[in-house]
Each structure stands twice: as structure tokens, then as C-alpha cells.
Symmetry: C2
Subunit: 222 residues, 2 copies
DNA sequence: TTCATGAAATTCGTATACGAAATACGAAAT
DNA sequence: ATTTCGTATTTCGTATACGAATTTCATGAA
């Protein structure tokens, strides 16, 4: 016999649905989120909606507006910059920690992700490429064995996904990204932790620069 | 005119009360948290309690136990180590960012905190020393201008406070801590960002070592 | 026409109610 | 005496109800 059904709670499902809608841009920045409306759309009562919104507020995905509910937080250039400063410190650490823990199975998984990202990039599947990007970095977080890194960065990727909605339309720019991913993982596979960490550091430094150079008018909003 | 009363919601107050009770050790690890009991003790209904617990669960302060509510998460040595790995990367970054942003006012504030910490240490006020420690590092987070660092580390300090409950009884060990704090802030005041960052890096490396060496039998539980 | 004023309608926060699921406990059978 | 099964109790998740506060809209005065 084995486990029956995880069947998450309505609060979790509501939270996930709202977070996804915010990150994909289905809910625009500044848009008001009414509890009644959401409850009706999701076919649940206001109670799970209220709890989910409380979490989103604690995580800065929505902000309070005076006394009448919340609205979707603006896509903030400062927040974007802050996250990249943090990534610049955390991602190399994750690589250092993960490299000596690599198993044959995880090497296979990593190569699959790199291959998938490269393939989807050539197929101009912007959304798929972003997902592969998230998968690549998340794999390293998990391999690091440091659950704090995993938790922190999962939240941060939520914010990043919002900003990257704008960048998604320039798949060509991600060619260099996937070359770098490949090089990073190669160094990790060979056990060269510090080399891989340096490559990752450079990768993170390059990333916001790419965003800024590729999106002429959108720059100011990032 | 200005704001009338912040008057936080019951959810926030409940969350704060529970978090504090967990961090100070008033709620022991493994202890079951019944919603009814908490609601009665705090003189609120179960609804805010339920929301608050959902947040604490997302932040790993409590864990699910089968189908019957939650219990206080164990004080986990692995989590402690993970946080220190992250701190080793984040704290020097915060110092680098904060140093060029120091104002005369913030220099005064920093010196006050160092003085207070040193004074309370000599007065054997362990709890006050811990608070000063938190204040010192939090000041740097805020001066860094990076709100992600502030948010992340505030959560982490919640977990750290739990572990440090054990260490509090050895105030003598904090002598070196406050010497290092003083040196770090001195370098920052002089604008030597990279020197200060290196001192901070060493400070974080030393910290868990101090904990391990000072608490003979308690080591295994950390 | 424009601004002020007040009543009606929204909408949120919190309390209470209800149903489902798990535990605890006791009775009966081996 | 021990184990097993059924029932009562506890407790959580979710729905609904209620009160307070704000917004909206209409009505009237300058």
C-alpha cells in the first residue's frame, strides 16, 4: 500500500492560483484584488482567500491600499536590483555547496535541463525557456542541501518572473545564457567547485546587463 | 496631519505573539499548538489563529503532524548551519552596500548599539545582549538599502533566536563578538567597505565555532 | 454648474457555525 | 489479560454571518 492523496488545502491552492496569476501578469500591477470576486472565480469562500492574501502581503506580492483591500504590487526596478545583488552572493554559494554533492543521477537531470532550455530557445518558446531557467537554478539550490537557499530563492523567482515577463519577447538574448549554464554545469560535473562558482558569479553579473541592453524602452521600468 | 493608529490586525498580532513565544522557547519544540487553546489564551477567535499558523508553517516555525494540527518545529542543527552558510554570503554584501550609504546619524546609532551591547554583556544581561546583536546586524541590513536582505534576514533571525536560547547562558563568550562588531563598524565609518566586509565574513565564520566550543553537552543538539 | 452632505451599497476583518476526519476510550471477544 | 472494533469526542478546514468603515452616488444648496 502507499500514500493516498496529498490534496492540498484550499488556502494553499488559492495562494498558488493568485501567485501564478500575479507572476504571469494575468493580474496587472496596481490592479485591485477583491476578496469576493476572487472567491467567486475560484469557487471557494472568502476565508481561504483572506488567508492567502495575508501571505502574499507578507511576501510583498500585493500591497495594502488604505482601508479598501489590496492591489497587485508594482513591478519595482529597485526590488529587481536588490534580488540580483542577493543572487550574486547566494548563487555562487549554492554552486560551491552543490558541486561535491553531485550524483550521477543529478548530473543527468542537469544535462537534460540544459538541453531542454537550449532546444526551447531555438524554438522561440519564451515561456518554456524561462521555466527551464528556473529549473536549472532550482536544481542547484536543491543539490546544495541548504533548504534556506531553496526557500529564499523560490520566493525571489516569483518576483523575478514578474519582471521577466517583459524580457521574454527577446529569445535571442538567451543564447549566451544557455552557453553559460552549460559551462557552469560542466565545471560542476568535473568537480571544479570554485571554477563553477566563479562562472556563476559572472553569470549573475551579466544577467541584469542583458536585460537592460535588450529592452530599449522598457529599461526605465526595470 | 499624520497616521492615526497602526493598530495592526488580529492576524498580525496573533502571528507576532506566536512567533515570539516560539523564538523565546516559551513554546517548546514538539509542543502541539491547538487552535482553540491559542484562541482562548489570546482572547480572539480561531480565524486569526488559523491564518497566523498558516504563515508560521510556510516559514518552517511549525510543522504539520498528520491530520491533527501543527506542532512547534524542532530546533534543527541543519537549519542552523544552513542559515550560517547564507549569512556568510549575505552579511558581507550588506556591509559593502551599507558602507557608502552611512550618514552621520546612522554612525551615531551604530555606536550606540555597540556601546549598549558591550555594556549589557558586562552586566550579564544575556537577553539584552542578544537583542543588541540583532539590532546591530539589522541596522546594517537597513542601511544597505536592500529590502530583500532585510526581509530574508529578519526571518532567519527568528530561527537563530531559537538556537541561541541555549547559548545565552554563556555571556563571557560574547566578549569577542562585540570586539568584532566594534571593528566592523569602525571600518564602515571610515569608508573601508571591503575591509569591513572581510571583517564581517570572518565574524560570521567565527560565530558558529564559538557556539560549538562553548556548550559542551549542548553541541550535539546544535 | 459645482461643491457639499448624507444615505445606500461595498467590502473587509472577525466571529460563529457546520461538516469531515482523526483520536481516544470503552466494551466485547479470544 | 490482551486485542479488536465501534462509538463518542476532539479538532481542524471551510462556509456563512455580522458589524464596522469606507466608498459611491444622488440630492440639494451656493
Amino acid at each position: 500500500m502507499e500514500a493516498i492523496s496529498p490534496s492540498k488545502s484550499l488556502v494553499d491552492k488559492t495562494y498558488g492560483a493568485l501567485l501564478d496569476a500575479i507572476c504571469t501578469g494575468e493580474f496587472r500591477p496596481g490592479q485591485r484584488l477583491g476578496q469576493d470576486e476572487i472567491a467567486e472565480r475560484l469557487k471557494v469562500s472568502r476565508q481561504p482567500v483572506n488567508s492567502a492574501i495575508a501571505m502574499l502581503r507578507a511576501q510583498r506580492f500585493v500591497i495594502d491600499t488604505g482601508r479598501r483591500g489590496v492591489e497587485v504590487a508594482p513591478v519595482d526596478a529597485k526590488l529587481f536590483e536588490s534580488i540580483y545583488q542577493v543572487r550574486g552572493a547566494i548563487e555562487p554559494l549554492a554552486v560551491e555547496l552543490a558541486t561535491p554533492r553531485l550524483s550521477p543521477g543529478s548530473i543527468t537531470r542537469g544535462r537534460e535541463i540544459v538541453a531542454r532550455g537550449t532546444r526551447l530557445m531555438h524554438a522561440n518558446d519564451a515561456r518554456g525557456v524561462l521555466q527551464a531557467d528556473i529549473d536549472f537554478h532550482t536544481l542547484i539550490y536543491e543539490l546544495s542541501g541548504n533548504e534556506i537557499i531553496t526557500d529564499m530563492m523560490q520566493l525571489n523567482w516569483g518576483h523575478l518572473r514578474r519582471s521577466m515577463g517583459e524580457v521574454l519577447r527577446f529569445p535571442g538574448m538567451t543564447l549566451q545564457v544557455w552557453k553559460e549554464h552549460k559551462a557552469i554545469f560542466k565545471a560542476m560535473s568535473e568537480g571544479s567547485a570554485s571554477v563553477a562558482a566563479d562562472l556563476m558569479r559572472q553569470h549573475i553579473v551579466n544577467a541584469p546587463r542583458r536585460v537592460a541592453s535588450g529592452t530599449a524602452p522598457a529599461v526605465s521600468s526595470l
